[in-house]
């Protein structure tokens, strides 16, 4: 730890506690409070990554999580910013984009030799012919691209993350002086305030400077005032008032009535040859490193700047114990006299009107070449001179961090005086405070925050007349004090003479200023085209380090003003964020029937069916099927949707929803119903039992339960009928007891007279069965005598057990979904979604009888169905049989002359009928009994005979008996 500076009061590290971790397999010692980046730098590891395209060595630049230079992999998570990630004992940190090692990267060849071959968009211009070789080239390109490496395979999510939702009166984004002042003022006025900041400690830009103590005090007072502080929590975007922020394992989603953006500003780099060498750092980065972590950013520094920031920085660095070999200021005349005086007093020479044209060194800066700049900012080659240093601290002015505001709908206006884009046209529920608003100096920022906080709280009706008066006064004094940032000098000091310089405008994507010139000359002369072609601003820094530079250059190259060049669209997220955080806690919503445990005990093959877990079979499909035919079977149909529709207008309501009639259904009777949409397409089906004059019990398909409930609610709201809708799907269980002996079984368990005379087909009755109150529907989905028993879920297990127990003497078997499918197919009972699709209407789906055009009232889809009736059916759903036992795949095509004209929707082998049966859509002309159709199934041609009546018990004798 030789590179540590003497202790200073602002440092975040605890020198008494060391922590060890590994970097590329080597042990690194750090202090508690270090970041991975500060610890590595202190240990002498100055190169942290290799760049995206040319694999150039890169080291710490911003020390604030704003650039791509320090991306590392931590315990298998790629893309972690080393400079802000706290060290934890034992973590394994590895570099990302270099082979075989960070120090020796073979791909560096692309930089040293390949440069002329890799201008922007080079891949669009190469490997075009011969086409058959492209897949090979592509492999090479793909392997060269990409930074992070993830597990080839991972069975499940391993990282547990959570969502947390929070409502607040005021949300403040940014915890610098302005944000804290805003939060404090709003909280004092009684607002419920949340403040989020991406740093671990509030204070923002103050922390590394002289005011660190007052930052700490302010942070304490806002906590005391009841502000909820989320830190480190990076705000990710502004989604119509909803602001998500990532903190550790949590994704906060804060919705507030007022927002205050106090997001500060981002220091900009300078552009010169070699401006990406390790050792070139932003002034703020070097200061942070020195003051927060006590790490020596370098022995000897040259500070290069275009504003007063650099002058301040030179003083700060020298005070921290770093030798400052000189300040290179691009401005010839401007500059604070006070600062210049202090520099002179400190013995630091200031080269005014000069710029750095080159930083040299192989893997690290060894020195810079500076030159005088002419009026246009061009370096004068004759004036070149060298200065030795191992740190170049640069400051190219600041860029207000407006991204969130832009996402919220604000515009950015170019402010010529300060040379930056300031927010404009900010939506009314948002206030802007501090540096992002151009209110830079500390006092001014604090006042700006207090004004914003007061405005936000007062606009919510909080506060008193006095507070209003104080706000007026504060506003007035803010106006007086506001000084925008001083105008900046030339940020790009590229040596005009040299064509080989590597001046990086964009570090993430390795785009040089020459690349930008090249692209503009090619015709990519608007910022959005330039961005897409060169990929400048499209990397992990989200344009923080490169947007302004590319705008300036485009303006210079094309002659358009900076205002005209404009900004690119700000797209969320503002900071990169792992998918696991956004995904929240992994969950698989599973619904289980009240007797789920029984299915497992009975050996059911339980499978997913939508959200439900259901028994596919109990091990013997054939035996289960035959049991229903010969004795009895019991199936759990609790998954059905169940609605009670009641009220004086319930019948009228159903008449409007369904194409058939329900107002004339007698209490205690059941009718089948098919639901359709406005286009007459079938959306669901089920049975409807009239319980009494005013109420109906409606069942729906399992998968359609939610959709039908919303559909009914929607129309109810639209028609405003006197009807109540109660969804009882979750509360009630249902079992279908079916088979010739089901009557005997049921009779033994209930007092109800179950004889055919008093409990006929399509009757619905309420009675107790083994003491369990049941609604019993005599219907026959599976084609044998049967009763669907609906009962309260908590009692269902008792009913299920009793039925099986009583049925034992009658050879009852539980049966699963698969036997049910065979049984219902024998009856040609359709499965919505299987035999029908988004195109099917009841007229063509073999149910013309269900559409009652003679009904006087309108019903949903009437117009469309009338149109179908008028033109006549084009396609029909029919049954078919295949003698030789072949079962075509469901989905196979029905063909005529080799062209698809229809499809098989269901097909099974029926053990009872001992042949293959199925249903298919065919052109109307083929929908005649006895017609032979051809099915094409993966190329096999299969002949089938059309049958329009049910395959089993076509006259319903068994059902009625």
């Amino acid at each position: 730890m030789s590179e540590r500076l003497p202790p200073n009061p602002r440092e975040r590290i605890n020198r008494a506690r060391t922590i060890n971790f590994s970097f590329d397999g080597k042990d690194v010692e750090a202090y508690d409070g270090d970041t991975i980046g500060s610890a590595l730098h202190a240990s002498g590891q100055k190169v942290l990554s290799r760049s995206f395209k040319y694999h150039r060595p890169r080291g710490l630049l911003c020390c604030a999580g704003q650039c791509p230079n320090c991306l590392v992999d931590v315990d298998g998570s790629p893309g972690v910013r080393a400079c802000t990630e706290p060290v934890r004992a034992g973590i394994k940190v590895t570099h990302m984009n270099a082979k075989p090692s960070l120090d020796f990267d073979v791909m560096r060849a692309t930089d040293l030799f390949g440069k002329p071959f890799t201008p922007p968009g080079f891949y669009y211009k190469t490997f075009i012919r011969p086409r058959r070789l492209w897949p090979l080239y592509e492999k090479v390109l793909r392997n060269a691209a990409g930074l992070g490496r993830l597990a080839k395979r991972q069975a499940d999510r391993e990282w547990r993350t959570e969502y947390r939702r929070r409502r607040a009166d005021v949300l403040v984004v940014g915890g610098g002086v302005a944000g804290m002042a805003a939060a404090l003022r709003a909280a004092e006025l009684g607002a419920d305030v949340v403040l989020m900041d991406d740093g671990p400690e509030l204070g923002g830009a103050m922390l590394a400077g002289q005011d660190a103590d007052s930052a700490k005090e302010l942070a304490e007072s806002i906590r005391a005032a009841g502000v909820e502080v989320l830190a480190p929590a990076a705000a990710l975007g502004f989604f119509d008032g909803l602001v998500p922020a990532w903190q550790g394992n949590t994704l906060h989603q804060v919705r507030a009535d007022r927002h205050i953006a106090a997001t500060g500003s981002i220091e900009q780099p300078l552009i010169f040859d070699g401006n990406d060498l390790p050792g070139v750092m932003l002034c703020s980065g070097a200061e942070r490193l020195a003051s927060l972590y006590g790490v020596r950013p370098g022995e000897t520094a040259v500070v290069a700047t275009t504003t007063d920031r650099g002058l301040e920085s030179a003083l700060a660095l020298q005070e921290a114990g770093i030798e400052v070999a000189g300040v290179v200021d691009a401005r010839a005349g401007d500059g604070s006299e006070e600062l210049l005086g202090a520099l002179a007093a400190a013995g630091i020479s200031v080269h005014r009107g000069t710029g750095v044209v080159k930083a040299f060194g192989r893997k690290h800066v060894r020195g810079v070449v500076v030159a005088d700049l002419d009026d246009e900012g061009r370096p004068d080659p004759a004036s070149k001179r060298g200065i030795d240093c191992d740190l170049v601290a640069v400051s190219g002015g600041t860029m207000p961090a407006t991204s969130l505001l832009l996402q919220a709908g604000a515009k950015a206006r170019w402010d010529e005086a300060s040379g930056s884009y300031l927010p404009d046209g900010v939506p009314s529920d948002i206030r802007v405070a501090g540096a992002v608003a151009g209110h830079e100096p500390r006092n001014c920022a604090a006042k700006s925050g207090a004004v914003a906080g007061a405005e936000a709280a007062l606009s919510l009706g909080l506060g008193s007349e006095e507070d209003r008066a104080r706000l007026q006064a504060d506003r007035a004094s803010l106006l007086r004090e506001t000084e925008g940032p001083a105008p900046a000098g030339q940020a790009r000091t590229q040596d005009a003479g040299s064509r080989n310089g590597k001046c990086f405008a964009c570090l993430c994507e390795d785009v040089t200023t020459k690349d930008i010139d090249y692209a503009i000359e090619e015709g990519f002369d608007s910022l959005e085209l330039l961005k897409r072609y060169t990929t400048v601003t499209m990397g992990p820094c989200q344009g923080r380090m490169c947007q302004l530079a590319s705008i300036r250059q485009m303006s210079e190259d094309t002659g358009a003003s900076i205002e005209e060049v404009g900004l690119t669209t700000a797209r969320p997220p503002w900071s990169t964020v792992p998918m696991g955080v956004l995904a929240g806690r992994p969950f698989e919503p599973a619904k289980r029937s009240a007797v789920h445990g029984r299915h497992r005990e009975l050996g059911g093959n339980v499978m997913w069916a939508g959200d439900w877990r259901r028994a596919y079979d109990y091990g013997d499909v054939r035996a289960e099927t035959m049991a229903v035919h010969e004795g009895a079977g019991l199936i759990d149909v609790s998954t059905l949707g169940k609605l009670v529709v009641s009220g004086p207008e319930a019948g009228a309501f159903l008449n409007l929803l369904y194409p058939n009639r329900f107002d004339n259904l007698k209490p205690g009777r059941i009718r089948y119903g098919v639901l359709g949409d406005d286009a007459g397409r079938i959306t669901d089906d089920g049975t409807i039992c009239r319980l009494d004059e005013n109420s109906f019990y409606v069942t729906t398909t399992s998968s359609g339960a939610d959709a039908v409930e919303s559909w009914f609610s929607w129309w109810l709201a639209e028609w405003k009928l006197d009807v109540q809708l109660t969804d009882v799907s979750q509360g009630l269980s249902a079992f279908n007891l079916a088979g010739p002996r089901s009557r005997e079984i049921l009779s033994g368990l209930t007092e109800l007279d179950c004889s055919n005379d008093s409990f006929a087909y399509l009757d619905g009755k309420r009675a107790n069965v083994v003491g369990v109150p049941c609604l019993m529907l005599r219907i026959g989905f599976v084609g044998e005598l049967g009763y669907e028993l609906h009962c309260p879920g908590p009692l269902a297990e008792h009913l299920w057990d009793s039925l099986l127990e009583a049925g034992a003497a009658h050879e009852i078997r539980p049966f699963g979904l698969e036997p049910q499918r065979i049984l219902r197919l024998q009856k040609m009972h359709i499965l919505v979604g299987q035999d029908t699709d988004a195109e099917s209407n009841p007229l063509e789906a073999a149910m013309p009888w269900i559409v009652k055009f003679e009904k006087e009232e309108d019903f949903i889809g009437r117009w469309a169905l009338e149109a179908v009736a008028e033109r006549g059916a084009e396609n029909k759903l029919i049954g078919f049989t295949i003698e030789n036992g072949t079962v075509p795949t469901e989905g196979a095509a029905v063909v005529v002359d080799g062209q698809p004209v229809g499809l098989v929707t269901s097909s099974r082998f029926s053990p009872k009928l001992e042949r293959s049966i199925g249903m298919a859509w065919v052109p109307a002309a083929l929908a005649e009994d006895g017609t032979t159709i051809t099915v094409s199934d993966e190329g096999r041609q299969i002949s089938a005979a059309v049958q329009t009546a049910p395959f089993y018990d076509p006259d319903q004798e068994l059902l009625r008996g």
Partner: protein, 405 residues
């Protein structure tokens, strides 16, 4: 290779707008540019101008997730898109611009019996139309996408997939720029930052357009190739389209080393996933249910799409999302496009592209150019006439269209 050393302009600087053109194309997306390109290439029609309200490719062309495939459900659709993919295969060489067309295959996953059934149906229709498309089981899927988690005990187990080997992804910007260069070299003009605000008519024919700055441009033929905005332009001409405009969203992760070569689509999970040549995972979903022209994304989309992606690729939990965006989709009632003539003479349209129109760009350009050049409607686009909605002759992709790109 030689081109690399010669710095050549991609296109001429924007020319002065003339008073009149034989053909005015509204919309500088993939369809507008392709139409201009084929007009010159196939029919020698070069007095053409493309009017674009922002920069070329600023609409859906520059925002889409670039999946190309032809395994559509209807035979009309399959035939049409197949012709388009074939044109794309040769387009890079023809334009001398590498479109980075990565034909590594396209998998539509099935998680239920019902979905398997739809896959079988599509495979059969495709096979009969001569399109390489078949249903495969879990083992083969594992071979093609070894990074995918295939655990069976999940809400959405991977039961099988429709495999379409010629499907894949392409570089959208390259298509736009390659076509734009082709248009420029062919002699037609491209005018960015020119917004059309009116369509002029006389005697039931379109005769020109007016621009937001008041400029009037006369035209022998007006082509509306504005996709998401097409109903607004059509109503300027007095044509009401049965189109609604919705947003569709997507996001990319930071670049990662290669994990996935094929395109994975899961309709039931409402998500589709590919990895670009740059290494980014590119993830999209289905359209949002509300209609809007505001291209603003939602947090809910990023959350849901992340959650579902992680069901298939749990290792991506640590991959970082870099950028998300939204684009417009013009949805037709039957999820098939509307192409060709309208009741206003000399006013042609290309719309109804839903979430999958990028793959159609070359064939749209070629057939619309043919319609203009020869005066007759090519067979391939006959079924897609606007008129079909008046005659109830839909070409329904509904059954298969939940998430299809």
């Amino acid at each position: 290779m030689l081109d690399l050393f010669r710095k050549r302009r991609m296109w001429r600087p924007t020319a002065e707008l003339k008073d009149n053109y034989d053909v005015v194309i509204i919309g500088g997306g993939s369809h507008g540019l392709a139409t201009a390109y084929y007009l010159a290439r196939d029919h020698g029609i070069t007095d053409v101008c493309v009017l674009e309200k922002a920069y070329i490719g600023s609409g859906a062309a520059g925002r889409n997730t670039t999946i190309l495939r032809s395994n559509y459900k209807t035979s009309e659709g399959a035939r049409f898109y197949d012709a388009s993919v074939k044109l794309y295969e040769g387009l890079g060489a023809e334009l001398n611009y590498n479109l980075l067309f990565s034909q590594e295959g396209h998998l539509t996953l099935a998680h239920t019996d019902r979905a398997m059934f739809v896959m079988v149906e599509r495979a059969e229709v495709n096979r009969l139309a001569g399109i390489d498309s078949r249903v495969i089981g879990p083992e083969e899927i594992e071979g093609l996408a070894p990074a995918m988690a295939m655990s069976r005990d999940a809400v959405h187990p991977v039961m099988g997939a429709l495999y379409h080997p010629p499907g894949g992804i392409i570089r959208h910007d390259a298509v736009v720029w390659g076509l734009a260069r082709g248009v420029d070299r062919g002699g037609a003009e491209i005018h960015p930052y020119r917004e059309v605000t009116g369509v002029e008519r006389s005697n039931g024919r379109a005769t020109g357009v007016t621009l937001s700055d008041g400029t009037r441009v006369g035209a022998g033929m007006v082509v509306n190739a504005t996709a998401g905005w097409s109903s607004t332009i059509a109503s300027m001409a007095g044509v009401e389209l049965p189109i609604t405009t919705h947003i569709l969203q997507a996001f990319v992760t930071e670049p990662l080393k290669p994990l996935l070569d094929v395109v994975i689509v899961s309709s039931q999970m409402h998500v589709y996933i590919s990895q670009t040549d740059r290494g980014e995972f590119l993830i999209g979903a289905e359209i949002e249910p509300w209609t809007t022209y505001r291209q603003q994304g939602t947090l809910n989309f990023i959350q849901e799409a992340s959650r579902h992606t992680l069901e298939l690729f749990p290792q991506l939990e640590r991959a970082r999302i870099l950028r998300s965006w939204a684009g417009l989709c013009d949805i037709s009632p039957d999820f098939s496009p509307i192409l060709g003539d309208t009741e206003v003479e000399n006013f042609l349209i290309s719309t109804g592209w839903g979430t999958y129109g990028f793959k159609a760009a070359p064939i749209v350009g070629k057939t619309i150019a043919e319609r203009i050049g020869t005066g007759t409607t090519p067979d391939l686009i006959e079924p897609f006439a606007l008129e079909r909605f008046y005659r109830d002759r839909l070409v329904s992709e509904l059954g298969a269209a939940a998430v299809s790109h």
